[in-house]
Symmetry: C2
Subunit: 216 residues, 2 copies
Amino acid sequence: MTVIKRTELEALPSRYRAQFVNSLSGYKSANLVGSANPQGQPNLALVSSVVHLGADPALLAHVTRPHTVPRHTLENIEATRVYTYNAVTCQMVPQAHHSAAKFAREVSEFENVGLTPEYHPNFAAPAVVESPLSIGMELLELVPIKHNGTLLVIGQICWVKYPQAALHSDGHLDISKLDLTAISGLDHYHSIASVGRLSYPEVEHPPTPLKLDKLP
Amino acid sequence: MTVIKRTELEALPSRYRAQFVNSLSGYKSANLVGSANPQGQPNLALVSSVVHLGADPALLAHVTRPHTVPRHTLENIEATRVYTYNAVTCQMVPQAHHSAAKFAREVSEFENVGLTPEYHPNFAAPAVVESPLSIGMELLELVPIKHNGTLLVIGQICWVKYPQAALHSDGHLDISKLDLTAISGLDHYHSIASVGRLSYPEVEHPPTPLKLDKLP
């Protein structure tokens, strides 16, 4: 085991440090953010920072940098107040990763990487047809993170499109049935296998495998 | 495919909705937060919301609810300004899940779930011996999320303990070699397999498998 301290971390070359620090938080979800500008030009951006904030109201958030690739996405979100999260499957990884390239503003990442936009009724932001789990979001707040100029994009869920067959009887959506990928670091993709659910944590005894009334 | 709308989501029973909404963000990292009160009483809490904020300065954050289990942890973090993140392996899952039970303030989760605290020099918060990846954190800011009363706990990395053998030549730490788990929803655990790294995304061509000078 190696221990690296803050001063040594700060002395690392910038790209090397970015690779290292990005690896430390553990596995990250892979989501494509779908958005459109007020003229309807669609845009797609890969994010690995979607985080659950709460279920009532149903809130999700992601982190964005103001001056890099997702800027078009951020402008679209600010202008239209809506966007989608689309879970990335292992099969979609090459296209999703490609969408992170610095495409020009007038270029649709959908077209260029080979993914298909679809529109839900009365919702201006495109979803991704190829994704098995899409979420329509409405912007609530952009929270500035003063320490490094990033922004926390907080939104409320408007709608969710998901495969009914993956739903457990207690409301848990079994994403291990959707072939979703997980990211680590900046560019490392992973496949996933379920090792099971555990019972509600109780002080008196260790958790046991969860038994549900009926599983799909 | 099923589409559920906000009004239907809001009408769901509270526990069912919590299960469902918690499943939507995709795979989540599993980290144990180690902390201690000013008298040195250690505490451990499982979080699935650690997110990378930036590499320079090296910032990580997690979401916490003010009035639930991690409250002891939050009090400790506010009092001592330091804490640790400890990545959870598949083998540690039963203990990690158990640590989420509502243990009394004076009870050490370490002792009760069967994990071992260790202390780094001049650092008041305990790390978890059994974890292959521990990060010492210093509190920078607690950002209140006004929409639901949660808090974003932002900290800067003080030190990282990791296995040198998992480090790629470009700084990427290959966590797929550490047997880490990923969580989905509230209680579903997963094992992970690498499907490979991809080249830096360029507009002109799809990404290709990443070739490094030397891999460990």
